[in-house]
């Protein structure tokens, strides 16, 4: 063995200068704006969210105000359009644009609350199941297997039919069905994390299991949960639309996208706009949630990050 003395300084990497670190952290924040998916999808959803919150200020008409004299007016760019009704009116003379804006309220309430609740339950069970294993894991995993065997839309219709209609029921139905999405992913991520040496290192310090789960595992699982939340919001919007399409969501005097689609379907040959506009908005919203999730995943995934 040849002993060759190397100067200490040559072996130890010189730490980065402090300003460089600061700049990199700032660049990390700016990176959000370099991911077009996040900018466009996020921007679109933000506009919808604001429209939902300030619906009474934004909507040109009362969404429930009927005027049979003004029924099935075409959108503003047609020849026989009436000024003030940008996207036309439905068969009862209600303003389509205003109804769309108010419909956003139900859609976003359901999307946000249901996704958060499902995420919370799924993440919690996934963490416990992945970290503790044994009978906890066996119970949770079998529960998921059973859950996955039910067709989700049918199950949600069944659930709402049993517990009654209303926003709360719709949210409950989505949470009860979709916590498994979070649970499965979080469980497998936790399994990965639990194998990491820093978890072993924490155990060899005598750190409590709960503390390890919260401080060592959860922060590394969180990015995935955020991505799933975004996807789940898209799914929740669809489920809510399906339930209001079949008349199992909120009462019929509250405008919903699904309800508008159901009404529009009946007069598709006389007034296509009543069907098409909510359909387009619904599709765009779900697409935006999916793209936002994908963009966030790209931002947080070190392999995809340039």
């Amino acid at each position: 063995m040849v002993e060759r003395a190397l100067p200490e300084a040559a072996v130890m990497a010189t730490p980065l200068a402090e300003p460089a670190i600061a700049r990199r952290r700032f660049a990390g924040l700016l990176a959000v704006f370099r991911e077009p998916r996040v900018v466009f999808a996020g921007g679109f959803l933000l506009v919808l969210l604001l429209a939902a919150i300030f619906a009474p200020l934004v909507a040109p008409h009362d969404p429930l105000e009927q005027d049979l004299m003004l029924n099935t007016l075409p959108p503003a760019w047609s020849a026989d359009a009436e000024p003030g009704y940008v996207l036309g009116t439905d068969s009862l003379g209600r303003d389509v644009l205003s109804r769309l804006i108010y419909g956003t309220r139900v859609a976003f309430t359901v999307a946000i609350v249901a996704a958060l609740a499902a995420g919370l339950i799924g993440t919690l069970l996934g963490l416990l199941s992945g970290y503790f294993g044994g009978w906890v894991d066996a119970v949770v995993s079998r529960l998921i297997d059973i859950w996955m065997a039910f067709p989700p839309v049918l199950l949600s219709i069944l659930l709402v039919a049993v517990i009654g209609t209303g926003v709360t029921s719709v949210i409950l139905a989505i949470v009860v069905i979709d916590w498994t999405r979070f649970c499965r992913v979080v469980r497998s991520e936790t399994l990965q994390q639990a194998k990491m040496e820093y978890v072993d290192a924490a155990v060899t310090l005598g750190t409590g299991r709960g503390k390890i789960l919260l401080k060592e595992v959860l922060p590394n699982v969180l990015p995935v949960v955020v991505v799933l939340l975004s996807l789940e919001m898209g799914i929740a919007v669809i489920v809510e639309a399906v339930l209001s399409f079949v008349g199992l969501s909120v009462s019929s005097d509250t405008p919903t996208w699904g309800g508008m689609i159901a009404e529009g379907r009946q007069i598709i040959y006389q007034a296509w706009w009543v069907l098409v506009f909510p359909l387009v908005l619904l599709t765009a919203t779900v697409l935006a949630f999916n793209q936002l999730g994908d963009g966030v995943r790209r931002l947080t995934d070190p392999v995809l990050r340039r």
């Binding site: 190397l6 730490p15 990491m196 040496e197 820093y198 072993d200 060899t204 005598g206 401080k215 590394n220």
Partner: protein, 296 residues
């Protein structure tokens, strides 16, 4: 010369897979680590060297269960301790230097938080006292500009520096025994030498006993006072490092030495373990498998 009482005494330790047919992984392993001594555990992959280290630390994977023997640290049997009592011993009396500095630091926590976990948990240090201690620890392992390093995340510093931080963390509670699980395997050769020198220096100044797990006989020659050679979960040779490396008595040790590439012995190249040695070992294991190891 009086032989000092052992700090760590592993006596007849056996371990096996939890699932039937309970393949044995350790077969009646005995070894002593004296205070202030570096004890090398050498063997090829699957020889059980890491399993011994993990058994001492109580972090055996769920699939493996100890099935006999004792692990005594200063007289206390670690295998018989309740989880709460074991938690008290861990960190303060035994610490770990992990293998891979890339996965041994949590990517989402700052160096300061990870370095001081033990001090906060076991010494209840807070605030400025904690900060001062952290800076002192990094100075001990020769990290320049410790204040800045403490604020960083693991991905912002080099592999060699991470391993120094892990060493600092292991020594932070002044344990009596440190399990170093292949601490230099993931590092390149130049950094490796620095890290070895550092472990040796820290160990001498703290008077810590070290169990040094490695497959690299070159590393063993540099840092270990004594040495245990393992094969198939069984101790094949044990003794002073210099004596064993100079005159290995067991054919497996000899084969292992021959398989180590050395530049002062040109032309030897890599040689596999001779088939007759492997056959003899397998026969020995098979004979053992019929004995207590398989049925405990």
């Amino acid at each position: 010369m009086m032989v000092p009482a052992p700090l760590l005494a592993i006596d007849g330790l056996s371990a096996r897979l939890r699932a039937p047919p309970h393949r044995p992984l350790l077969r009646s392993v005995c070894l002593d680590v004296r205070e202030g001594e570096v004890h090398g555990l050498v063997g090829e992959s699957g020889a059980g060297k890491s399993t011994i280290g993990k058994a001492v630390l109580g972090i055996l994977p769920r699939a493996i269960e100890p099935c006999g023997g004792t692990i005594r640290l200063s007289g206390t049997d670690l295998l018989g301790l309740s989880p709460a009592r074991l938690d008290a011993v861990l960190g303060t009396e035994i610490a770990l230097i992990p293998q891979d500095p890339m996965t041994a630091l949590n990517p989402s926590r700052r160096i300061f938080d990870q370095l001081t976990d033990g001090l906060r948990l076991k010494r209840r240090l807070r605030g400025q006292a904690l900060r001062d201690k952290a800076v002192a620890l990094l100075q001990d392992v020769q990290i320049p500009d410790p204040e800045a390093v403490l604020r960083r995340y693991p991905h912002e510093i080099s592999g060699g520096m991470r391993q120094r931080i892990l060493i600092a963390a292991a020594f932070s509670l002044d344990p009596k025994l440190i399990i170093a699980d292949e601490p230099t395997t993931a590092l390149d050769v130049t950094v490796q030498k620095e890290v070895l020198r550092l472990i040796r220096k820290m160990q001498r100044s703290h008077g810590t006993g070290v169990v040094f797990v490695t497959h690299d006989l070159g590393v063993v020659a540099q840092v270990c006072d004594r040495l245990t050679v393992l094969y198939g979960g069984m101790v094949v040779e044990q003794g002073e490092t210099a004596a064993i490396l100079a005159a290995p008595s067991h054919p497996y040790t000899r084969a292992l030495l021959d398989a180590t590439p050395r530049h002062d012995r040109t032309g030897s190249g890599m040689r596999p373990i001779p088939p007759q040695v492997a056959a003899a070992l397998q026969a020995e294991l098979a004979r053992y498998g019929m004995g207590p190891g398989a049925h405990v």
